[in-house]
């Protein structure tokens, strides 16, 4: 049998090993021949979810369960002089109080004291009874405040921003600007936005004795939660089982146990009872991460042919008390002469975490608007302008497909050309992402003599349909239907797995599931062939049946002995006491990395009220081989919805004077609703030959820029700051009118 080399993690170190794979198995069945893969597969857990039977962490109730609560800082920056919990400890219903070891708080909402009580209300009341003495310190809420001369420092041992950042240069921007036909200088801004997981962060912790812990966590990484807990609590990882059967959204913010998770376990131990610690919505807004803001000063130029010749960016971003606020620029476009400076800026705001395509939505917004500005200035069609400057050939095809679907050719290219107060316009943006897989997550397949099949893996489903992906792949391999595979995932005891982030889950798990199916089939054939009086290679599985050849090996051109065909159940029964159990690893060749995407949007702008209504989005994407077409479309729809939120509504508002979070609730932090939803048309440019690639992040990226460009095309108002609110549209239109009368 041929061998392939793969890297596995052993005792914390990468190790290269060789695994044997059966001839011909290291490639996917072509879509034209597959029975299951690439079709529209209803999620296996859909009935559970829509009927409310699916148990999320929030739904876990145990006898004697206590409610956990974390008291947060009311100040954006302060030294903690003392914490007095004596009165709170004596309050009715209060079972445990643990102050965090902190000398200083750095943002409004910074966590201070954990409380476990018999009810949430009792816990909150205890919180009110805790006396904390603060020494208020000066603070900064926004990038401009943090960069001002003499600004207060967020951290006493570091400046708010690197005073001497590195400038990366390619080519000769200064010379290129001199020879350019069109030059635009503009400042673009995107706000901090929050993940808004509908199920907040949190977990339920239950101790069994002193060192055994069971945890139900809302997480996208059961193993990283286990690792965090083992380290923080100083117990062996082998004694912890983390369970996530269903979870309500993570978007990059739910990898670790978090302050709240470790606190829940500590409180549970101290109180001698299980503790449920789910963040309140307010706590969730404050402390569970966010997408950093950006402030992008860009000067860019193109020549008369519409080729970008120079790009200069002085970029800033703030992830509050965390770094990681960088973003790509000029994103997907090729510019020969560049100068880029990027600075992370500390502010007294909740810390950023990875959020669906970290950095890309910010970089895409400014890049796409700038590119649009140059295209209009040169009088070049924005689609053609992009094709001239985008080196990716697949995207060239996607631009054409998207333009066709949205009716780009029918539009009047002149901005603001339509009559009346309500004007329509179109815009677009591009995206790229990795989404590759790796050998983090093996899958085991067991076939029982009663014909039932289970697939077991330590991965988790963060809502993308991983359970169904695994079942579908194994079903394809065994000639069964996905609902015949019982998939057990979302527990650390099911084996190792990486976290579900970076759009890597599908590309990591699918090859492992495929190989598990291949090996299971091989074992099954080896075990039952002697009992059927044939050779293993004479057997084939399809449509719930086992077929036997007349003598030669099974395959496309085989001659079948139909009299020997038996059902799957009959075949499994021949196993007798010998169950099949096969483990599959990720191998190269079944997945790859690097996707392309383009989104177009048509909007209607009411130029008298400033309201922007999205009418239609065309989302053209590729993700290699599509496993479940319906779930992939859902994934793209979800990305578009989040993209509309970023483009149109979402913004964390801190009070400039106190750095307090003002809209830490759904009344004022607005997420899109049904009425903001346009018609969404998803177009796939399948590339099955490349294998599986993730699609989680790319669809969230392009709409910020695409929508702002569509608003410009509709009414001539150039919006360089997200979200595109009525306020900004009216201000931009007023600016236009002043220009008009000034001429």
């Amino acid at each position: 049998m041929p061998k392939v080399k793969i890297t596995v993690v052993e005792n914390g170190f990468d190790k290269e090993i060789e695994v044997e794979v059966p001839e011909g198995s290291a490639s996917w069945t072509p879509p034209s021949e597959s029975a299951v893969l690439g079709k529209r597969i209803v999620r296996l857990d859909a009935p559970e979810k829509v009927s409310g039977r699916a148990k999320y962490t929030y739904d876990i109730n145990l006898p004697g369960l206590l409610h956990g609560y974390i008291l947060q800082s009311p100040l954006a920056h302060a030294r903690i002089k003392s914490i007095d919990i004596s009165r709170a400890e004596k309050m009715p219903g209060v079972k445990a109080i643990i102050p965090l070891d902190k000398k200083e708080v750095f943002y409004h909402g910074d966590e201070l004291v954990g409380i476990a009580a018999t009810s949430m209300n009792a816990a909150e009341e205890a919180g009110r009874a805790i006396k904390i003495e603060y020494e208020p310190l000066p603070h900064v809420a926004y990038i401009d405040q943090a960069l001002a001369k003499g600004a207060p420092q967020v951290f006493s041992d570091r400046p708010n921003a690197n005073p001497k950042p590195e400038t990366r240069r390619e080519g000769d921007p200064a010379a290129a600007f001199k020879g350019a036909k069109a030059t635009v200088t503009a400042t673009y801004e995107t706000p901090v936005i929050c993940h808004v997981c509908l199920e907040p962060h949190g977990l339920v912790a239950q101790w069994n004795g002193d060192d055994e812990l069971t945890v139900w966590a809302s997480t996208q990484g059961v193993h990283s939660v286990r690792g965090d807990l083992a380290t923080a609590l100083n117990i062996p990882a082998s004694k912890i089982n983390v369970i996530t059967h269903h979870m309500g959204g993570g978007f990059g913010s739910k990898f670790g146990a978090g302050v709240e998770g470790v606190m829940a376990a500590r409180l549970a131990k101290k109180a001698g009872a299980p503790v449920k610690m789910m963040m309140t919505r307010r706590h969730e807004f404050h402390s569970s991460g966010n997408r950093p803001s950006s402030l992008q000063r860009i000067k860019a130029a193109a020549d008369a042919d519409g080729k970008l010749v120079a790009w200069e960016i002085d970029g800033y971003g703030s992830g509050g008390i965390n770094g990681g606020a960088g973003y790509p620029s000029p994103y997907v476009y090729r510019v020969p002469n560049q100068s880029r400076t990027m600075r992370d800026v500390f502010t007294n705001g909740g810390g950023a975490r990875a959020m669906r395509a970290p950095g890309h939505p910010q970089g895409s917004f400014a890049t796409e608007v700038m590119v649009d500005e140059l295209a209009y200035q040169l009088g070049i069609d924005p689609v053609e302008f992009r094709i001239k400057n985008d080196p990716n050939e697949l995207r060239h095809r996607q631009y054409r497909l998207g333009a066709e679907a949205i009716g780009w050719a029918n539009r009047n290219p002149k901005p603001g050309a339509s009559n009346g107060a309500k004007k329509r316009g179109m815009g677009l943006g591009a995206c790229t992402w990795g989404g590759g897989g790796g050998p983090s997550t093996p899958v085991t397949v067991n076939i029982h003599p009663d014909g039932s099949v289970e697939a077991i893996s330590g991965t988790q489903d963060l809502g993308t349909g991983t359970r169904t992906v695994i079942a579908a792949i194994i079903a394809e391999e065994l000639g069964l239907q996905p609902n015949q595979i019982s998939t057990k995932i979302g527990e650390t005891r099911y084996g190792p797995s990486g976290g579900s982030g970076g759009s890597t889950t599908c590309a990591s798990v699918s090859p492992a599931a495929k190989m598990a199916g291949v090996f299971a089939k091989q074992q099954l054939f080896e075990k039952i062939a002697p009992k059927l009086g044939v050779k293993p290679e004479q057997l084939a599985l399809r449509d719930g049946k086992i077929r036997v050849t007349q003598g030669g090996p099974a395959g496309k051109d085989a001659k079948w002995d139909e009299s020997k065909t038996i059902s799957w159940k009959q075949a499994a029964a021949r196993l007798g006491m010998e169950e099949v159990s096969a483990r599959g690893q990720w191998i190269p060749g079944l997945s790859s990395s690097g996707v392309a995407g383009v989104q177009f949007i048509e909007v209607e702008v009411d130029t008298e009220t400033g309201r922007v209504q999205p009418l239609k989005v065309v989302a053209v994407h590729d993700c290699g081989l599509v496993i479940n077409r319906m779930a992939t479309e859902s994934q793209i729809n979800g990305g578009v919805i989040a993209g509309i939120g970023f483009a149109l509504l979402e913004e964390r508002v801190l009070d400039r004077n106190t750095a307090r979070f003002l809209n830490d609730h759904f009344v004022d932090y607005k997420i899109p609703g049904t009425y903001e939803m346009p018609e969404i048309e998803v177009i796939f440019t399948d590339q099955p030959e490349r294998g599986v690639i993730g699609i989680g992040e790319p669809p969230v990226i392009p709409l910020g820029g695409a929508l702002a460009n569509a608003v410009y095309h509709a009414c001539g108002a150039r919006i360089r700051s997200l979200p595109v609110t009525p306020n900004k549209v009216l201000a931009a239109l007023k600016g236009l009118r002043q220009q008009d009368t000034g001429l």
Binding site: P74, H108, N121, E124, E125, E608, T609, G610, R611, Q613, L649, V653, D655, R656, N657, T658, R660, L662, N663, V667, D668, K670, P672, G673, Y675, E676, T725, P726, N727, L730, A731, K734
Partner: protein, 333 residues
């Protein structure tokens, strides 16, 4: 939220005795709870006791037409208002306002009495960490803060805006409020019911301690009176108004005989613009009339740092509301 006692009396007498004079805010009446409970959860008010009004048989209920106009019981829900064919016929502004308020779930719970008494949605007021003037403090943090949703008129010391969509519509419809207390019943016009908060009364209404709103009465309007409510939001639904305009107009031929024009989202109380009304009365519809009137209506506006966009927005809504109401002539005589 502080723990509290809960009573659910069945008679008004018992209710009044429970509401009794036992200190400010200690006992609060509870109807739909869509405002009060959010205030309690945010630790803005912390009553010791809630007195449920929903089991009071004596409160007038529902929407009724009498010789004296239309009466709405205080416990009438926004959903009932939205769905009432009578109101749709008699006072469309109210129907439209109800259908644009909040969400269907909230409208099922929210009552018209509570709607008039709801407190501002100012994000400083709603945050217990800011001891703003309206909550007994010294100043208004919105004044030099994040004031994109704040007042253009009547601001200072408080710059919050009134959150109700129905109140401006009711003002445009010239409604009055019926209040009851131990001492009996009194009726006040809505224009007196709402009053800018002041030093001795840091609320938006003149309701007295121990009083309950029991009903609203919309007087009969002469044949041909039309009304409408327009609302601008930053999301299509489920948002408090950036601004709103309620208007009621009676035309004869092309001449405007009577008009009431009320702005929303611009002041701590619904804001009637009488000078603009004056320009309309007796004028013939057409030409630049509505543009002039919208200028007049916004003449005294004093925008803060971030809310000047409300001015063009209001001008548009005023013009659109008046255009809608005067699109077709009313045959004179």
């Amino acid at each position: 939220m502080k723990t509290f006692e809960y009573d659910s009396p069945e008679t008004l007498e018992e209710t009044f005795s429970l509401l009794g004079p036992d200190g400010e805010g200690a006992t609060r009446p509870l109807a739909g709870g869509t405002d009060l409970l959010t205030l309690m959860k945010a630790d803005i008010v912390s009553p010791d006791r809630l007195v449920n009004l929903k089991r009071l048989g004596e409160l007038p209920s529902g929407i009724k037409e009498t010789g004296d106009g239309v009466t709405l019981g205080a416990l009438t829900t926004l959903t009932e208002i939205e769905r009432s064919p009578l109101l749709r016929r008699r006072c469309p502004a109210l129907t439209e306002a109800a259908s644009l308020a909040a969400t269907p779930q909230l409208r099922n719970m929210a009552t018209i009495g509570g709607n008039l008494l709801q407190r501002p949605r100012c994000w400083y007021y709603r945050n217990s960490l800011f001891h703003c003037w309206l909550k007994g403090g010294d100043d208004c943090p919105a004044c030099d803060g994040q004031n994109q949703y704040h007042a253009l008129f009547g601001g200072g010391p408080c710059y919050a805006v009134h959150p109700s969509d129905l109140a401006p519509a009711l003002l445009a419809l010239d409604a009055e409020v019926i209040l009851k207390s131990r001492n009996g019943e009194r009726r006040v016009s809505l224009s007196e019911f709402f009053a800018l908060p002041e030093e001795g009364r840091r609320t938006e209404t003149t309701i007295r301690e121990g009083e309950l709103v029991t009903a609203l009465r919309i007087p009969p309007h002469p044949e041909g009176t039309r009304s409408t409510y327009l609302k601008a939001m930053d999301r299509k639904v489920w948002a408090f108004a950036l601004v709103g305009v309620a208007a009621a107009v009676r035309l004869e031929g092309k001449r405007i005989e009577e008009v009431r024009l009320v702005l929303n989202g611009v002041a701590p109380v619904p804001w009637r613009v009488r000078e603009a009304e004056g320009e309309l009365i007796g004028s013939e519809v057409g030409g630049e009339l509505f543009t002039h009137v919208s200028e007049t209506a916004l003449k005294g506006a004093r925008p803060l740092e971030h809310n000047a966009y409300k001015i063009p927005l209001l001008k548009t809504l005023i013009r659109r509301a008046l255009e809608t109401l005067t699109e077709t002539e009313v045959p004179s005589g």
